[in-house]
Symmetry: C2
Subunit: 143 residues, 2 copies
Amino acid sequence: MSANSRLTVAAHALTWIGLYQRRGHEVATSEQIATSVNTNPVVIRRLLAELRKAGLVESQRGAGAGWRLTRDLASLTLLDVYRAIEPGPVFALHRAVPDPECVVGQGIGPALSAVYDGVEAALRRELAGTTLEDVLRDVLKAA
Amino acid sequence: MSANSRLTVAAHALTWIGLYQRRGHEVATSEQIATSVNTNPVVIRRLLAELRKAGLVESQRGAGAGWRLTRDLASLTLLDVYRAIEPGPVFALHRAVPDPECVVGQGIGPALSAVYDGVEAALRRELAGTTLEDVLRDVLKAA
DNA sequence: CTTTGACGTAACCATTTTTGTTACATTTGA
DNA sequence: TCAAATGTAACAAAAATGGTTACGTCAAAG
């Protein structure tokens, strides 16, 4: 599995913006977020651009500009974030079409697809059960 | 997400061997399996070697040799297969350690880890709910 | 005991994904 | 006009996956 950290970084960025806004600031810059995440500001801007396409954040340009949440942390679940940044499924079928002459080659795709759909649904149910407000609460509690 | 097909190919191979044995054959060759999967025999041998390490199959060498299941299809779940071939978790934490001076940077890791553990558990529960016997039944039913 | 068939595995290569980085155009507030 | 920030292209590095070739090793069959 790829084991990518995109969901982690996206959740981190949104949580950071949320806390920053809660402390009275209007917008957060990609530079500030990148410092907390410990990465490059462009990585943050690229990720936030995908979240903006999904309507989770909005951005301003120009001096004194930055990023702002469009919804409260409590209304944002990890599933919302996942949906915004993860296009493909966890498991893929064959790269090349299996032998159609073979019973297994012909029927294995649909059979596994049904299982994979269930897995995907379970994964989404789990992610939907946690809001970024939950995450922030855990973060502040640990401090 | 990587969207890899390793689980698909592994399940395909095991199902094929199971059906082949059920039809009275002793062992299946990587060449035969590769034909059904539509890939290279080396890809099959590499994957089955991992399944052998997990005790799911055994192999013979020499002329007339090949692969054989060590258990019945009904006792093999997709979770067994997944465990044998997938080392890492679905979601990863940060690649570089986040800023420890920042509350979010310091607490987001543990907070997300708890969620990811739940996701992983849900995924495994789903995979554990389907045996290769179930898969073969679906395959034969569709034919 | 030689031949043959099959696994075991190393060594490449191509492709894709992810991440980091630099660079620069664009926008906007002061 | 200047400074600050996003928007985005371009490139590189690294890792995972999959395909291919090549060759060593083993064991059954004759």
